[in-house]
């Protein structure tokens, strides 16, 4: 299939780019490890009594946080293409209109997969042991990836609206920090003030972190938060995919 080939070529291009972008490469390798190690050893004692006790709790949280941060590059890359004229070059080629976006999101899935694998390996080296099964672990990866694809559309919108790639990162991270940290990704919800707990429990990041935790550790529910985060993913995609495409077409029609 020609369209699939073209999408794969565009995904290849997004992945090859990373080689020449030390910052981006660092965000997929050093940053997730750094977050895991810092959270574990700095906060572990205070939150869970010891880093060893905290690892099983924080590893799924870091996986979810890192997934959200990596999606920023979807918007960053798209914006770079738009502002530099690369997007126009693609549009003047006989390829489907959706191929550049599809290629970018596909490349994002590959990056996400590598990051999750890296975190799991480092987690293992730090002493994490899977309490459930490989099937549960695969379900966790699939769930996080599904959420990543849905959430990418938010970043596509940011990439379309922002004036330049720097603003994508500014907007992206400014929005991501509160929703990531005001969640159950790093600390148990019941330690927070009551007025905050309602928000935290409704936050899709909490649901996703709880689901990942449930799928990697024997204690705690998995199915309910997993369905909750899938519902959120669907909702986000249904709202942001059409909105992003609409805004993209508007931007392109500006000349």
């Amino acid at each position: 299939m020609k369209a699939i080939d073209q999408t794969l070529a565009l995904a290849w291009r997004s992945l090859v780019q990373v080689r020449r972008n030390p910052w981006e490469l660092g965000d997929y390798s050093i940053q997730p490890i750094l977050f895991l190690v810092l959270f574990l050893f700095v906060f572990g004692g205070a939150i869970a009594g010891s880093p060893e006790n905290y690892l099983a709790f924080v590893l799924p949280g870091v996986i979810v946080m890192n997934m959200l941060f990596v999606t920023v590059y979807v918007g960053h890359g798209l914006n770079t293409d738009l502002t530099r004229g690369v997007f126009d070059r693609f549009r003047a080629l006989p390829i489907p209109r959706w191929a550049p976006l599809a290629g970018r999101i596909l490349a994002d899935v590959v990056k996400q997969l590598l990051c999750i694998a890296l975190l799991l390996v480092v987690g293992y080296l730090l002493g994490f042991r899977l309490e459930t099964s490989w099937a549960h672990l695969l379900a966790m990866v699939a769930l996080v990836l599904a959420f990543a694809v849905a959430f990418s559309w938010v970043m596509v919108l940011v990439g379309v609206i922002a004036r330049d790639p720097e603003h994508v990162q500014l907007f992206g991270f400014t929005a991501l920090f509160p929703i990531t940290f005001v969640s159950s990704a790093f600390v148990p919800v019941d330690t927070m003030p009551t007025w905050l707990q309602g928000f935290v429990q409704a936050n899709p990041v909490s649901l996703l972190a709880d689901a990942a935790r449930g799928l990697m550790n024997a204690d705690g529910p998995a199915l309910e938060p997993a369905l909750g985060s899938l519902a959120w993913a669907l909702g986000i995609a249904l709202v942001f995919a059409p909105l992003s495409v609409y805004m993209l077409n508007r931007r392109l029609a500006r000349g």
Binding site: K2, D5, Q6, A9, L10, W12, R13, V16, Q17, R19, R20, N21, D81, R84, G85, V86, D88, R89, F90, R91, A92, L93, P94, I95, A99, L252, A253, R254, G255
Partner: protein
């Protein structure tokens, strides 16, 4: 097929601004058309419509015989486009950029590599082939950009201000390549702000202003209309410039442009020069410099519209910057 590009009544409005306001174009196959005009004249908008990047508000156009709106996908198969800003992926190497385009055009992996290497050789980029494009000089980047638009051997090539930002040597090099393409039968539509460039490359020149065609013809025809030459005069004392301008107008018959102590006006008859000098001398106006030079875009505009071309404000918001 006689005409590679045929456009009738092309209009593109951005809000209340009509960036392109009823443009007709005809480019015979294998010819080079130069679209000449100042910033904001609507050149880029015309190219973006013909290259299927922008829908027209009104009007029709056929590119290579295909309707640019209804058969946009067919148009994209036969065109190449090089934008005003080198649109290559800076993080990829030159070679990777060309391979990517080849793959997107449906070439097999091996074919795409072979075509990339061929173009890298043609465009003197072999040594830089495996370096990221962000390390390239402006001239190299433009060569890569042009090479990228030629991967699919397009029958019709759009070059939007191809020499912007190039030093004179790189510009000559680019011109040579455009001539080679034309010799190979490619139809080229190029936009430029420089009469010199249009003169050097184009079979026909269309002058665009405020989204409208204000003149068309060969370079020689246009120059004949402009008078071919410009008389320029520098007065020794700025306060005498206005008076000198009036006297020059009386002799030449056209109101000249006065800019500080410099006065310039298109002339058709170079022998007016001594008459101007005598007249100014008689009026007691001291002349620091007097001479003739070839017509510039500015002179074309002054002659065609009575206004200066280059110093005008841009009407459309960011219209030519896209």
């Amino acid at each position: 097929m006689d005409n590679a590009i045929e456009a009738e009544g092309l209009v593109r409005a951005f809000g209340a601004t009509r960036a392109v306001d009823g443009v007709d174009l005809r480019v015979p196959s294998g010819q080079v058309l130069g679209l000449l005009g100042p910033n904001g004249a609507g050149k880029t908008t015309v190219v973006r419509m013909l290259a299927t990047l922008l829908a027209p508000t009104a009007g029709t156009a056929h590119v290579g015989g295909f309707d640019m709106v209804r058969e946009a996908a067919r148009v994209r198969e036969i065109i190449g486009l090089t934008g005003q800003y080198a649109s290559v992926d800076e993080k990829l190497t030159g070679r990777e950029n060309l391979i990517l385009i080849g793959r997107l055009l449906g070439l097999k992996r091996r074919e795409a590599r072979a075509r990339a290497d061929e173009l890298l050789g043609d465009f003197d980029l072999r040594e830089a082939a495996n370096r990221p494009a962000q390390t390239y000089s402006g001239g190299m980047r433009r060569r890569l950009d042009l090479a990228a638009s030629l991967v699919g051997r397009p029958r019709i090539l759009f070059l939007d201000e191809p020499s912007t930002g190039l030093d004179p040597r790189a510009r000559r090099d680019l011109w040579e390549r455009v001539r080679q393409l034309q010799a190979g039968g490619t139809t080229v539509l190029l936009t430029t702000q420089y009469l010199e460039e249009a003169d050097a490359l184009a079979d026909t020149i269309v002058v665009l202003d405020h989204g409208r065609v204000i003149a068309k013809g060969t370079a020689a025809e246009l120059k004949a209309r402009v008078g071919g030459r410009t008389l320029f005069l520098v007065v020794a004392h700025t306060e005498q410039a206005a008076a000198a301008g009036d006297r020059v107008a009386g002799i030449v018959g056209t109101q000249p442009r006065v800019d500080g102590e410099t006065i310039s006006v298109p002339v058709s008859n170079p022998s007016l020069l001594p008459a101007v000098l005598r007249d100014l001398d008689a009026a007691g106006i001291e002349v620091a410099e007097l001479g003739l030079r070839g017509a510039s875009l500015d002179d074309v505009f002054l002659s065609l519209t009575g206004r200066s071309g280059a110093s005008r404000e841009e009407p459309g918001a960011g219209e030519d910057a896209a």
